[in-house]
């Protein structure tokens, strides 16, 4: 501790800017980690809290994915001996049309039994309703809302509230106001309760429920009851605690979560290089000090511990600040993410507050400190190996010895050989990821050698540009490969990250565009909600026939999409008229016989899978899927695999006939409508709205609008990618500023001499600027190459483990070209401060500097 105060602290104080820049590397890495995960957790927490508040005293819930089940299931559940109360529930999200109020979560419940599970805590109500729920039921326009909602909207008891329903806009009467605690505070207070039978009608459920909420007899263990109920109902139902809905939400949003983890790891990895670089340089600069310490009796172990303690403290400070910054980031991100999840996955809600998980924060602290200690380990070891006699002599040891270079080169070649070997065994996950790591490590080990080779190649060009300044800039790089290579490595990683992200964005856009052209051929898409992922409001299938009768309509395809659980993971079931679909849609066939598979599926002989489903769930043509349906598991052979990006977790394409047969659900989420050739689309849209808009809630999107909607969602997804790119570039800039600051300190005397022998300020500035640009060029060159490898792996990761998307390898030349001015400009910008420090310092001090 005393040594830290006497030796380390004065050094840090003297090089405060450098210390801050080094710490900033960790701050950024930890902040990205905490920010992205906390935002994710906050949305999940908000979702869970809503689930929890809605659940009330519910101990178990019976569901069948999003499909729901017929009313008779309720009796079977109520008949179970463990069950004390079992009440049916319907949940739907509707728009109120009140400006600024967004969506209202409507809970359809059976008022006669539900109050034993949920406390409505009605503060003002018509006495007759409170006393007798049957009166509430008898008036199907009755609705109860939260006090928060009435305060926000200015509505009060007996006010009329218009909601968009399957029967068009319907007026409801507020017959109760719940206090703002408990149930009423769910969904940010935007909650309404109505009678379940009215809900069935207005939300198109027919004679079906979404789920059954259960409380058990006292003394019965939830796990035991769950097992018995599951066994009694069969595998077509899920019996679980309310909290399991949160786990399903997590599973649905896992692509985002993995993406966030990968970005954080990359950011921390770059931060690791910044710290390694700074500590390596610090060891070199403090050789004299280390020599004195050793001469005074400090053991090599003590010196090593001193440097490790410094890196741990750097990590601790950086992580602590990073956690704070991360929480701030999460505040901004959580709202965006809530909306984004709701739009992409159809679940999730805006997080009202950021909930930072202490475990996550502790992990962030450990990761930050751990990264810092790992980064500081090699420099600390080098410090411990300093020969006290040599250290007390003047001179520098920045150069990497030939022996060390050879060792690095040989090790890198060994790793590359390992990477090639792993690539041949790439189908095995462990070898695939090992190959990826070995490749990155090999390039990083080769960075000093590459810096020297590229630096030598660059020297004539720089010298040609400015004979003195250029040569000095190049020599500065060549002279100190250790100082340069750390930054170049960090910069290369950043560039590689950007190339990878850019490449995947480019490939994704191209693939999605090409899929949209193949799959989205109808003129109109009619849904019950303005977002296509919102499936809580459904149409009766008879509507298809009515649409068909409208003059100008050529064909109507009724589609039912619903999330079901496959092997415990939520996947998308798409039930459509496959004969019509096969005629109109030309999805690329990956496996199976394109000519027969749709016909066989139409006959109910099996299902067609999306490519991402097959890849993520490791299923192929000929395998048999077991799908949960009300009467037990339905066994469906896989007839083929097609390229389809309808859902990130994969889709199962099934004929509507088979779906209705096994799930007994005739409802429809969306209609795909084809018009006769030459029909005026705008006029037809208006005609459909006029004819049906008054009696059912419908949104009509044109082909172009739907494509634009999907493109916007893709933009939103890659909006996060652009944040990652920004972080990567920011870290790269930090690295360059750090290196140049160190370089200026390191070359203080050299720059002083340059001025002493007649160098003008501008000439000194130009030397530093050129050094910065040279670092940028080296980083770009190595980064572009590493990016090519990184892109290959990241596409593979996306295909195999993230999204199951088969994306073409296309190097993002445009992004690479954009990076050149960005990185070189940033390098130049980063050099301004250090260059000014160099020319404004005392010349006398510079010449005396050692």
């Amino acid at each position: 501790m005393m040594l830290l105060r006497l030796i380390s602290w004065p050094y840090v104080r003297k090089h405060l800017l450098r210390a801050l820049l080094t710490t900033a590397g960790i701050v950024l890495g930890v902040a990205v980690f905490v920010g992205m995960h906390t935002a994710n957790q906050s949305v999940l927490y908000a979702f869970n809290r809503t689930v929890d508040r809605i659940a009330g005293a519910t101990q178990l819930q019976v569901t069948a994915g999003e499909i729901g089940f017929s009313e008779d299931v309720l009796e079977r559940v109520q008949a179970q001996p463990d069950v004390e109360v079992a009440v049916p529930v319907i949940e739907a999200t509707v728009q109120t049309g009140i400006a600024g109020q967004g969506n209202l979560l409507v809970l359809g419940v059976d008022m006669t039994g539900d109050r034993s599970l949920r406390d409505y805590d009605l503060e003002k109500a018509d006495d007759t309703i409170v006393d007798d729920p049957l009166v509430f039921i008898a008036q199907p326009d009755s609705i109860i809302v939260s006090r928060q909602f009435t305060e926000r909207t200015g509505l009060k008891l007996n006010s009329k509230l218009t909601m968009q329903t399957m029967q068009g806009p319907r007026q409801f009467t507020i017959r109760g106001v719940m206090n703002s605690e408990g149930l009423a505070s769910a969904f940010g207070g935007s909650l309404a309760v109505m009678d379940i039978y009215a809900a069935q009608l207005v939300f198109g459920r027919g004679r079906r429920f979404d789920r059954i909420d259960i409380s058990l007899h006292p003394g019965i263990k939830v796990d035991d009851a769950r097992r018995r109920l599951q066994s009694a109902l069969g595998s077509g139902f899920e019996v679980d605690t309310p909290s399991s809905r949160g786990q399903q939400f997590e599973a649905v949003a896992q692509v985002y979560s993995m993406n966030a983890t990968l970005t954080s790891i990359f950011a921390l990895f770059i931060g690791l290089f910044l710290i390694y670089n700074t500590f390596s340089i610090a060891v070199t600069q403090r050789r004299n000090e280390i020599g004195i310490l050793r001469a005074l009796g400090a053991s090599s172990g003590l010196v090593k511990r001193l440097f490790l303690a410094e890196s741990a403290i750097t990590g601790l400070i950086g992580s602590t600040i990073g956690i704070g910054v991360g929480i701030l980031i999460a505040r901004g991100l959580a709202t965006y993410l809530g909306t984004f999840f709701a739009e992409v996955y159809g679940v999730g809600e805006k997080a009202q507050e950021v909930s930072a998980d202490p475990k996550l924060l502790l992990s962030a602290l450990f990761i930050g400190v751990g990264t810092s200690v790992v980064a500081g380990w090699l420099p600390a070891r080098n410090a411990a190996r300093v020969d006290p006699v040599k250290a007390l002599q003047k001179g520098r040891v920045q150069v990497i010895t030939e022996g060390e270079s050879r060792l690095r080169r040989n090790l890198a070649l060994l790793l590359l050989a390992g990477a090639v070997a792993c690539a041949t065994l790439g189908h095995v996950r462990i070898f695939f990821y090992s190959g990826y790591m070995l490749n990155v490590l090999a390039v990083l080990l080769l960075t000093p050698a590459l810096c020297i080779w590229l630096g030598k190649a660059l020297r004539p060009l720089l010298k040609w540009l400015r004979p003195v300044e250029g040569a000095l800039a190049a020599d500065s790089l060549l002279q100190s490969p250790r100082r340069t290579s750390g930054t170049v490595a960090a910069l290369s990683l950043s560039v590689a990250l950007v190339v990878g992200l850019g490449g995947i964005a480019k490939a994704s856009y191209e693939s999605i565009r090409s899929w949209m052209d193949a799959a989205l051929s109808p003129d109109f898409f009619i849904t019950g909600s303005e977002t296509i992922t919102q499936r809580s409001i459904r149409f009766p299938e008879e509507l298809a026939g009515e649409f068909r009768k409208v003059p100008g309509v050529e064909e109507v395809q009724a589609v039912r999409t619903a999330r079901i659980l496959y092997s415990g993971t939520p996947v998308m079931l798409v039930a459509a008229d496959l004969r019509s679909l096969a005629e109109r849609v030309r999805l690329q066939v990956i496996e199976g016989d394109g000519a027969t598979m749709y016909k066989r599926a139409e006959r109910g002989e099996g299902v067609v899978l999306s490519d991402n489903f097959a890849l993520l769930r490791k299923v192929k043509t000929g395998d048999v899927l077991e799908l949960p349906a009300p009467d037990g598991m339905v066994k469906m052979p896989v007839l083929g695999v097609v390229l389809d990006y309808s859902d990130q977790n994969g889709t199962i394409l099934m004929d509507r006939g088979a779906y209705k047969k096994y799930w007994g659900d005739p409802t429809v989420n969306a209609f795909r409508i084809y018009l006769n050739a030459g029909e005026d689309r705008a006029a037809m849209r208006q005609k459909l709205l006029d004819q049906f808009g008054g009696r059912t809630r419908l949104f009509i999107m044109t082909n172009a609008e739907l494509k634009q909607y999907i493109t916007n969602l893709t933009d939103q997804w890659f909006g996060l990618t652009y944040v990652q790119i920004f972080v990567a570039v920011l870290v790269a800039i930090l690295g360059i500023v750090n290196t140049l600051t160190v370089s200026i300190a390191d070359r203080k005397r050299e720059l002083g001499v340059l001025q002493a022998v007649g160098g003008l300020r501008n000439q000194i500035r130009q030397t530093i600027w050129m050094e910065a640009i040279a670092i940028g060029v080296l980083g770009l060159a190595i980064g572009f190459a590493l990016g090519a490898v990184h892109l290959y792996y990241i596409l593979e990761v996306t295909r195999r483990d993230l999204a199951g998307m088969r994306l073409d390898y296309r190097y993002p030349f445009a992004i690479a070209a954009t990076l050149i001015p960005v990185i070189l400009g940033s390098a130049l910008f980063s050099a301004i401060g250090p260059a000014e420090t160099a020319v404004r310092g005392s010349l006398v001090e510079a010449l005396e500097y050692e």
Partner: protein
């Protein structure tokens, strides 16, 4: 050639240190002067002020008829470029540049063409008897050889003033004597004004004039026949 009038230099820190107090002196063109005094007497500060590496707190310095007061940093650099050559105790050669490149460096900074600068650098390296070491890096030379390269660099534009800060301080006696002999020889052949800071009495006595500083003031100014 060099004129100082009532020059004072103070360094501000936790307390102000006055390194030079009202120093006035005049060095004529072609003189070879040694500047001696105990540590902290202000020798190097005086040399740095004359060399335009630093600015006085008060007083005036005139070099070759040009008043330095009021000049900007770049104007001072111009003065240094045209009129002053430096020889440092620790040579201050750039380790990544060859001898030729080190000597040619000030010429390149003046915008000389590469061929012309190289020709002049070769000429100077021959003058200091290092024509056989032209392409060597400083690390490959002995201390004496490095100082010769530094001297060649200081002479690159044949400046009228040559400032040397302990030029033999980092060399053994024999090499130091060789370097001193070289400086004296160049002084005689090129006619430059030489001001040399030294601790070494024999080096000081080899100059025709010795200025002694103590506590930032000139306490003695000795003119003598140089002892060779």
């Amino acid at each position: 050639m060099i004129q100082l009038s009532n020059v004072t230099k103070e360094f501000d820190g936790k307390r102000t240190v006055r390194a030079l107090q009202g120093v006035s002196l005049q060095i004529r063109k072609g003189e070879m002067v040694s500047l001696v005094g105990p540590s902290g007497s202000g020798k190097s500060t005086l040399l740095n002020l004359i060399g335009t590496l630093d600015k006085p707190t008060s007083g005036e310095i005139t070099l070759d008829g040009q008043l330095l007061s009021g000049l900007t940093d770049d104007q001072l650099t111009q003065v240094r470029r045209d009129k002053i050559g430096f020889i440092f105790q620790f040579f201050n050669l750039l380790p990544s540049l060859s001898c030729l490149e080190n000597v040619a460096l000030p010429l390149h900074l003046r915008g000389w063409k590469k061929a012309k600068a190289s020709e002049r650098a070769r000429e100077l390296l021959t003058l200091v008897n290092l024509d056989h070491r032209i392409e060597h890096l400083p690390d490959e030379l002995s201390g004496g050889e490095r100082q010769r390269v530094a001297i060649a660099r200081a002479l690159s534009v044949y400046p009228p003033i040559l400032l040397a800060d302990e030029p033999t301080g980092n060399l053994d006696t024999h090499t130091g004597a060789e370097i001193l002999s070289l400086v004296r020889d160049l002084h005689q052949r090129l006619g430059a004004t030489v001001l040399m800071v030294t601790h070494d009495r024999s080096v000081a006595e080899s100059c025709a004039r010795t200025i002694i500083l103590r506590d930032g003031q000139v306490v003695e100014d000795i003119n003598r026949e140089p002892r060779l």
